[in-house]
Symmetry: C2
Subunit: 331 residues, 2 copies
């Protein structure tokens, strides 16, 4: 087990507080004692403990990041922006994977507080974010990444998800599609865009054409299979994100149909794999790396200016990336 | 800023040590004092600090994980196994992304010590692992994930990388390939398998057919482009991992050739995207999730039995997954 301040205090026959102060170069400890304690600590193999130091300096130079799914390349791409921006500013990032589980999100949040991170960036697992907003009371700034909460008393950086769905739908409508299904994940903002555009063009909203599961490839695959079995075949499917879209395409092809000849597919996010020659997924781009960078910039500003309680909201523009999974049809 | 033990000590007019002991339920503090301090701590909004508690109990129930590239799906798949196994055992995981940079690996290692994690799992950035082995002296157990160091005085869980290269090469040779190039990343064990099999079949090893860069898609793409421009076109390319393979395929197709008609491609890892209908990458499977689970099992055993200094080595079997990026040629 590691050598602790307590162990050193015992050997040096001084109080815990004296060791702690000596190691943090506190002015009330004499230089002689400081040297004795510091030499002893070194001899005993003591690792300067950022947290114990944090108790004194309140400065751990660490940021906590909680993402809901490390295996969806979208989040690692956001995390890379967070990592790079934090590092440029002398901060380290501890990443936690909540795995789309609310209890894990809560536990990791607690653990990050306890590790005295100076700020937290989070991609939440659900719209239930009340436990997250409590960070304000704990004086640990928090920024939502790639997510716009329903309340405004918080910091967030998000792509305009509603608009993303609108531009994808307008594109499909322009191509002549009317039988458009929707296969989504945990968050539902994009669904609103889907429904509004159908209504704008007087296309009936069919509940059987709307499926909701997880933001997982496997989930997209299963829901698409169900959708194709239960319904009249749609001419287009709007998928909740790119990995759902990949699952949807897999299901369509196993069903004996082809993309885009029989069914057009649009995703969201533009993960790096979407651009592969073999995939060429038409999708709505989110500025993932930029979202990560902006989250850290806001967080560092909050850390440096704890008395500025103004919340920062950044909504970034989505962009339709037309590749090869959509095709026009005659109306 | 957060309320610290020091703040409470000041208000309560007792020493730092007394507060620390009262909050950790130390037997030397009277029940009356304990109650007074604990009530005060609660009233002041103090968050029980796992690290400060760790100084007393030495038990933070956290594991540190350092991976070299969060954007390569291989590592998130290993991380998922680590996360799930740790969680089942009541442990949380703090993940750090070293980004293939040795200095970042060192800094994160230091930060994890300081956060008092009970053990560390690491996918190292290079063969220079001496700084990592020092954890033994610090009494923090460490396990290498998906990597076999050159020395045996450490714990590791790895797929047999040499054998992986051998089975991939034997497969290409059996298909009739003789002009086989190699495009690799930072670690070089697979290169040895490549060279040995060429020699076994009396095929000259051509230095211009061997390229080394990073374990990145972009790197695979660039190296393949150079290789195709500078050399007689090979009939097969063994790629250092799946994301390099995806870059190689991209380069081949941009060069106006096709996979597998003109050039066969084999990868390593079997990341989830390799199985997509559109990709169908022939690759050598590594049991990624299993590697993660085993790393945690070994680590927990080391944590629970600190006096057992026997090192654990697990070498897992690779498996060739034949899909659609290789084709037989007439010899």
């Amino acid at each position: 087990m590691s050598v602790t301040i307590k162990d050193i205090a015992k050997v040096a026959n001084v109080s815990y507080a004296t060791v702690s102060r000596a190691l943090s170069n506190h002015p009330e400890v004499s230089d002689k004692t400081k040297k004795r304690i510091q030499d002893l600590a070194k001899a005993m193999g003591y690792t300067p403990n950022a947290i114990a130091r944090g108790l004194v300096t309140k400065n751990t130079h660490t940021i906590g990041l909680i993402i809901p799914d490390i295996t969806n390349p979208f989040f690692p791409e956001v995390a890379q922006g967070i990592e790079d921006c934090a590092n440029r500013n002398g901060y380290q990032v501890f990443l936690c994977n909540s795995n789309w589980q609310l209890n894990k999100e809560k536990e990791y949040l607690k653990a990050l507080y306890e590790k005295r991170v100076e700020g937290i960036v989070i991609g939440p697992v659900s719209n239930d974010v009340s436990h997250l907003l409590d960070t304000v009371n704990k004086n640990v700034p928090l920024v939502f990444a790639a997510y716009k909460p329903q309340i405004e008393e918080c910091n967030y950086v998000a792509t305009d998800d509603y608009k993303s769905a609108v531009i994808a739908m307008e594109y499909l409508i322009k191509l002549g599609h009317r039988k458009i299904a929707f296969i989504g994940g945990q968050h539902k903002v994009r669904l609103n865009g889907y429904i509004d555009i159908l209504q704008k063009y007087n296309i009936p909203v069919m509940p059987s054409y709307i499926k909701y599961g997880q933001f997982k490839q496997e989930s997209g695959y299963q829901m698409a299979k169900e959708l194709l079995i239960e319904n009249e075949i749609p001419t287009a499917i709007l998928a909740g994100n790119d990995i759902i879209a990949l699952g949807v395409i897999q299901a369509i092809e196993e069903f004996g149909l082809s993309v885009p000849n029989n069914i057009s597919v649009v995703g969201f996010d533009d993960i790096s794999f979407a651009a592969l020659d073999k995939i060429q997924l038409t999708t709505v781009f989110q500025p993932k790396y930029k979202i990560g960078e902006l989250c850290v910039e806001i967080l560092l500003d909050k850390i440096k200016n704890p008395d500025n309680h103004k919340f920062v909201h950044k909504i970034l523009e989505p962009k339709l990336i037309i590749r090869k999974t959509c095709k026009g049809i005659s109306i």
